[in-house]
Symmetry: C2
Subunit: 244 residues, 2 copies
DNA sequence: CGGAATGTTGATATGCCTCAACTAAAGTGG
DNA sequence: CCACTTTAGTTGAGGCATATCAACATTCCG
């Protein structure tokens, strides 16, 4: 019987790539080591040299930079099916850290086993490559979001992305999804002071676009939230249209 | 005789990856079509579906997003040896545009020929994959730079990166390098108003850290510029130490 | 030489950060 | 289980950095 982690991985890669039966079989033969993370626990630190790659099975992880002034800059958030450190397959040292947001379950796969698959099943390699390219596309969008958009638009955009990606991966429940972030963390992701985060959240709530409480995002009016966030999901490069 | 473009490509990939003689031979057998771009000319637009990948032979190209409000957000700048649209090998549609900054010479290589190399020379595929991963690392650093750092640090960091990368590719001349950007473009890269760009440049010049005039960056005091920009080149993932 | 784009300077406005105080919730130990 | 401590969230006031506006200088380019 195949490890359920293999299903999660195969399912995720099929969101954007084509895999045949043998490709999936190769994924099923990988070794998956379980690891549980406490909320806020660091999984990888800047400078580490991992020899395994992680697959998120449940919960949310965050990638971040430490700033010289002691601050923290969140770079992206990853959910079930994501490979937050796939880059470590080809970049020796981590240039950023990865931590758990809320409780997290990971599956760890040895680099050597993964790269060995690439020799016989190039399509698997291309799918994971594509996964890292989508990652990069999300980083680009974040540059634009954090540099070029006003605070309210910026925050709406982040929540659009979080909900859309959760929804596309089947993790939304009705008009809600889990995002166990504090306002402090939102500020460190969006480059805003906490006070501003708080007031911007209130503004979005008063406008009946969305609510965010206790780590639960509730979308009240998707269409207007998308408009308020200048959100266009093309950059996520999903194979199928995702209806919200 | 091999196309000089092949040398440029092989040389670039060797900045971070190991290639053997056969790998280089494979690169030499690629078809390289020349294309010249005028200053400011768009090479690819958002939504395009390229079937060739570009190699920068000379000059500088910029990748950018168009904003809904008509503005422009520059995402990164690429110089000789860079592959600004390598992602198009595996992502159908461009989620951003690429334009020339100053006059540019490109070599275009058919996607099909490149992916055919991957079958026989996986090391070439991994090297180009690594190239796209370094790209992503630079995007991450840009998120941090534009979201988490004050204007003066932010600008110093950008110039550190531009100089360091030019220097690593052998494109610096003494303590200067070419960066044919206008102050308007700097503002659109850093998320600053033009007036602020102008005054921040003056501040860096008065402090005798650097000068930027007529598209020429002159480093007056590298050590202090690095300190002023919180610059640490680890994120560029170069194989060798680069002494400035 | 004239017109457009870019760069420079000064003055003003404002969005957001900082500071501060307080409330609410969550986690801890007796 | 409840006092206690800590962390997260909320509200108000004030100041500063940076955007915006406006005028002018300079360079570029036809």
């Amino acid at each position: 019987m195949a490890d359920p982690a293999a299903d999660i991985l195969a399912h995720k890669l099929k969101e954007h790539s084509r895999l045949n039966g043998e490709d999936v079989t190769a994924l099923e033969r990988l070794t998956y080591h379980r690891r549980l993370l406490q909320p806020n626990e660091d999984f990888i630190r800047q400078g580490d040299k991992p020899d395994v790659a992680a697959l998120v099975l449940s919960g949310m992880v965050a990638r971040y930079h430490l700033l010289n002034n002691g601050g923290r800059q969140y770079l992206s958030f990853n959910i079930k099916g994501d490979l937050p450190d796939a880059q470590s397959l080809f970049l020796d040292r981590m240039d950023h850290a990865v931590c758990a947001v809320g409780a997290v379950e990971l599956a760890l796969m040895p680099h050597k086993e993964i790269t060995r698959i690439f020799e016989r099943r190039p399509a698997v390699g291309f799918a994971i490559w594509r996964e890292t390219l989508i990652d990069a596309a999300i980083f680009r969008e974040t540059i634009t979001n954090n540099s070029g958009r006003a605070t309210r638009i910026r925050m709406a955009h982040l929540f659009c992305e979080l909900f859309y990606r959760a929804h596309a991966s089947g993790l939304s429940e009705g008009n809600t999804c889990s995002a166990p972030l504090s306002q402090i963390q939102l500020g460190e992701a969006l480059g805003m002071a906490i006070v501003t985060v708080n007031r911007t959240l209130q503004s979005l709530r008063r406008a009946r676009l969305m609510e965010f409480r206790h780590g639960i995002l509730t979308v009240k009016d998707w269409k207007r939230l998308v408009a308020a966030g200048d959100f266009n999901p093309d950059y996520l490069h999903l194979k199928r249209e995702v209806k919200v």
